[in-house]
């Protein structure tokens, strides 16, 4: 296992950082989060078509860059840092889902358009609050007709392609899990943007009434593929979260050094310094887990499911603690709308529970280690 980034990876990070600092300052985040669409089409074209971020982990055979989850993790981390408003996480995750289940010909058909960013995609899996595993999936697929509800679908309102997880029952005795491809404009599909605390990340509720879908990757039960995909989603999200958490640590320290009370910088008080040191500890520990898990995803580490849960639980708790402390150290100004801290606080809150909350992942961690 490699514990540092190499020069190419550092370069990728620098490229992403420069681009995002330019394209996603908080003024832009605030402008875009107020729109229904939730992203800037010109920026999307640049980050996908020109910089190839959407192609990062897609194999070269399907028009991608063929890089690893470690590189994808770097891109996620930088996007988390800058709070980029774009359907990047959704599209990258949909690509992962396709890579995990689809046949060669399906991959050749679907992945090139995702790699270029020409088609925005998303992964629709969850239905019930507080349930993040395949047992909770009720949306039914019979004879390639989908009926049911999907909730918490990232950028579901704008996706051209939906990868939908359904419970299949083709007259067999037992149900199984299947991945289906659905066109974003398919008849019978109703998409509703839901109100979210975190306006930088749009979620939709999708209602399927006799929606025609295409099964991906054959008819076998894909529950294990779903578990793999969710592990990779958790790892990706953990990497995005540590980027946001680091940004908050940076912002907090900057403010604590500038802000004067009682004739001195508040950052000279141990009460503040010690909080900042703990925040740094939190973010670095969470980074170690996120980086390790991303590297493990590439090496097909048999421990991967446990590592995914570890990384997600660690990042969720670290990000949320840091976000709360960042507001606390800012004091009154930190509770205002005009101060930017709440943008990250809200992302931390939504990320905390997205793809499994910390208690869920801690339980998973123990279960997975026991096996």
């Amino acid at each position: 296992m490699q514990f540092t980034f190499n020069e190419e990876q550092d370069q990728l990070r620098a490229t992403a950082q420069k681009f995002l600092a330019d394209k996603s300052p908080t003024t832009e985040v605030r402008r875009i989060m107020a729109t229904r669409q939730g992203y800037d089409a010109a920026v999307w074209t640049q980050l996908s078509g020109e910089l190839g971020f959407t192609a990062t982990h897609i194999p070269e055979a399907y028009g991608g860059l063929g890089l690893s989850y470690a590189e994808l993790g770097i891109v996620f981390e930088e996007m988390g840092r800058s709070l980029l408003c774009a359907p990047f996480f959704a599209t990258a995750l949909a690509a992962t889902a396709v890579m995990n289940v689809a046949t060669e010909s399906e991959k050749s058909e679907l992945l090139p358009d995702i790699a270029t960013g020409n088609r925005i995609a998303t992964f629709a899996v969850f239905e019930t609050a507080g349930k993040w595993d395949s047992d909770s999936i009720r949306l039914s697929a019979k004879n390639n007709q989908l009926n049911g509800i999907k909730r918490y679908v990232l950028d579901g309102h704008i996706a051209d392609l939906l990868i939908v997880v359904a419970r299949t029952n083709n007259g067999n005795e037992t149900d199984s899990i299947g991945f289906f491809l659905v066109d974003g404009n398919a008849p019978g599909l109703t998409r509703r943007v839901v109100n979210t605390i975190d306006a930088t990340r749009k979620l939709s509720e999708l209602e399927f009434v006799d929606v025609t879908a295409r099964r991906l990757g054959g008819d076998d039960d894909q529950a294990a593929r779903l578990a793999d995909t969710l592990d990779l989603a958790a790892i990706g999200l953990a990497n995005e979260m540590v980027g946001g958490a680091q940004r908050l640590v940076d912002e907090t320290v900057k403010y604590a050094v500038e802000r004067i009370q009682f004739g001195r910088a508040i950052g000279s008080f141990q009460a503040i310094k010690h909080k900042c040191a703990d925040m740094l500890l939190d973010v670095e520990m969470a980074k170690s887990a996120a980086y390790y898990a991303a590297a493990a995803a590439e090496s097909h580490d048999p421990e991967l499911p446990a590592l995914a849960s570890l990384a997600k639980a660690s990042a969720s708790e670290a990000y949320m603690r840091i976000a709360a402390e960042c507001i606390q150290i800012h004091g009154g100004i930190g509770f205002t709308w005009d101060n930017d801290t709440h943008l990250w606080f809200k992302r931390a809150k939504s990320s905390e529970v997205f793809f499994g909350d910390p208690s869920y992942h801690k339980e998973q961690l123990i279960t997975r280690w026991q096996h």
Binding site: F3, K273, L280, L281, A313, K362
Partner: protein, 419 residues
């Protein structure tokens, strides 16, 4: 690394070892030979028992010694801290008198820095050394001194000027521990062990030639010692030798190691023994308890992330990259691990957490964990000091306004011997 040099070095050392290494020699005979040859501390100057070898080539030497299980110079305890300090700050006379007997292991050393009144604030030492015209006369008390009861020499930080500012009034001495003015008493800890000593000085004598560096420069010299302490903190407790090796020299080395390691036997327990948690939880039927499972998961997250963070720091160092913040966080992370482990062991053991010795779980081992963990967040710099260091040195935050400037005589102190 120049491959030609590396190859030549390896060959030269192999030849030397082949004609000199003898597992049936006495430990002191062998180490004397080793010290004189320069192969004992090859990165030291040629003039002082070394070979001026670049640090980067040192691993080759280590490999060659390990290949044939050759015994190295004495490295355990605080010997090498003493050696490094004397090498950097001592005069020629001190180097030739002390260094060889440190490397052969003939002399044992102890470090006399901490005092009852100055723990975190080491520079607030009030043990005094006064010059009577012929000798330095030492009075005061030191504490937390490992090995003082069998040490030959002590590294002493003492105040020689009470009118200078705090850090400028300290001086550094080598004190002979075998004299009537030095009295050593074991210090019993809350876990029942006595791994350290209290050392009392009553008109103890230091000859002027045992003053290290100049008077008033003691703080700087002490920092050298502490820097080496941090570097060797892990190496200190990692002397491993296969049990099946036979030869007089191995027997003598094992005895030496056992003596040095004795004070550290409870250290694994103070770190929390997270390694026991799964087995204990199964034994006690607690693996079905959702709350215990959550607590174990929290512990394992801390354990693994601390380990990976340390490896990130090491990897960066090995590649010669600038060290990131991850290098400063290990101590704080270790405290979190230890506390969580202690909490989990308590949850698992339930009422048995009240019992120790033969009556306690794992013949008292769990009890030893529960009463040793508080040391982790104190020893070697409290968590609060670590947080200050992280905030000030890593995050660049401002220092607190100081209350201890001006003549040390006027600085507020704990009750103790008057200036």
């Amino acid at each position: 690394m120049d491959p030609v040099n590396a190859k030549k070095l390896r060959q030269e050392l192999r030849t030397w070892l082949e004609s000199n290494w003898d597992p049936n020699a006495s430990l002191i005979q062998w180490r004397t030979k080793l010290t004189e040859s320069g192969w004992g501390m090859p990165t030291w100057p040629t003039q002082w028992f070394g070979k001026d070898l670049p640090q980067a080539l040192n691993p080759i030497v280590e490999e060659e010694f390990a290949r044939i299980n050759a015994v190295t110079v004495a490295r355990t305890g605080i010997r090498l801290l003493a050696a490094a300090t004397i090498l950097e700050h001592g005069n020629d006379d001190q180097k030739s008198r002390y260094l060889p007997r440190i490397l052969t292991g003939e002399d044992t050393w102890c470090q006399l820095f901490s005092e009852p009144g100055s723990g975190s604030d080491l520079a607030g030492a009030i043990t005094r050394a006064d010059f009577d015209g012929n000798h330095w006369i030492v009075n005061g008390q030191k504490v937390w001194t490992t090995s003082a009861h069998h040490a030959d020499h002590g590294l002493l930080l003492a105040r020689t000027n009470w009118d200078a500012p705090k850090h400028d009034g300290l001086s550094y001495f080598v004190i002979d521990m075998h004299q009537p003015g030095v009295s050593v008493h074991p210090l019993k800890q809350m876990n029942g062990h006595a791994s350290f000593n209290q050392v009392f000085f009553t008109d103890a004598v230091v000859a002027p030639e045992n003053q290290v560096d100049r008077i008033g420069n003691g703080w700087k010299v002490a920092m050298t010692t502490l820097m080496h302490e941090r570097r060797s903190a892990d190496a200190l407790r990692t002397v491993h030798r296969d049990h099946d090796l036979t030869g007089r020299i191995y027997d003598e080395e094992r005895d030496e190691t056992a003596t040095v390691m004795e004070p550290y036997k409870w250290y694994p327990q103070r770190a929390g023994r997270a390694d026991l948690v799964f087995e204990r939880a199964s034994e006690m039927g607690k693996m079905d308890d959702a709350i215990v499972r959550q607590a174990i998961a929290e512990l394992m997250i801390k354990v693994r992330t601390a380990e990976w963070t340390a490896r990130r720091a090491r990897a960066a160092q090995q590649q010669g990259r600038p060290q990131g913040p991850e290098g400063s966080l290990g101590k704080l992370a270790a405290s979190h691990v230890a506390r969580q482990a202690s909490k989990v062991h308590t949850m698992i053991s339930g009422s048995d957490s009240m019992l120790e010795g033969e009556d306690g779980p794992l013949a008292g081992l769990i009890a030893e964990i529960l009463v040793s963990v508080p040391a982790t967040s104190i020893a070697g710099g409290t968590d609060e000091i670590q947080r200050n260091i992280i905030a000030e040195r890593v995050l660049g935050m401002p220092k607190e306004p100081r209350m201890d400037t001006g003549p040390f005589r006027d600085v507020m102190k704990n009750p103790g011997p008057a200036a």
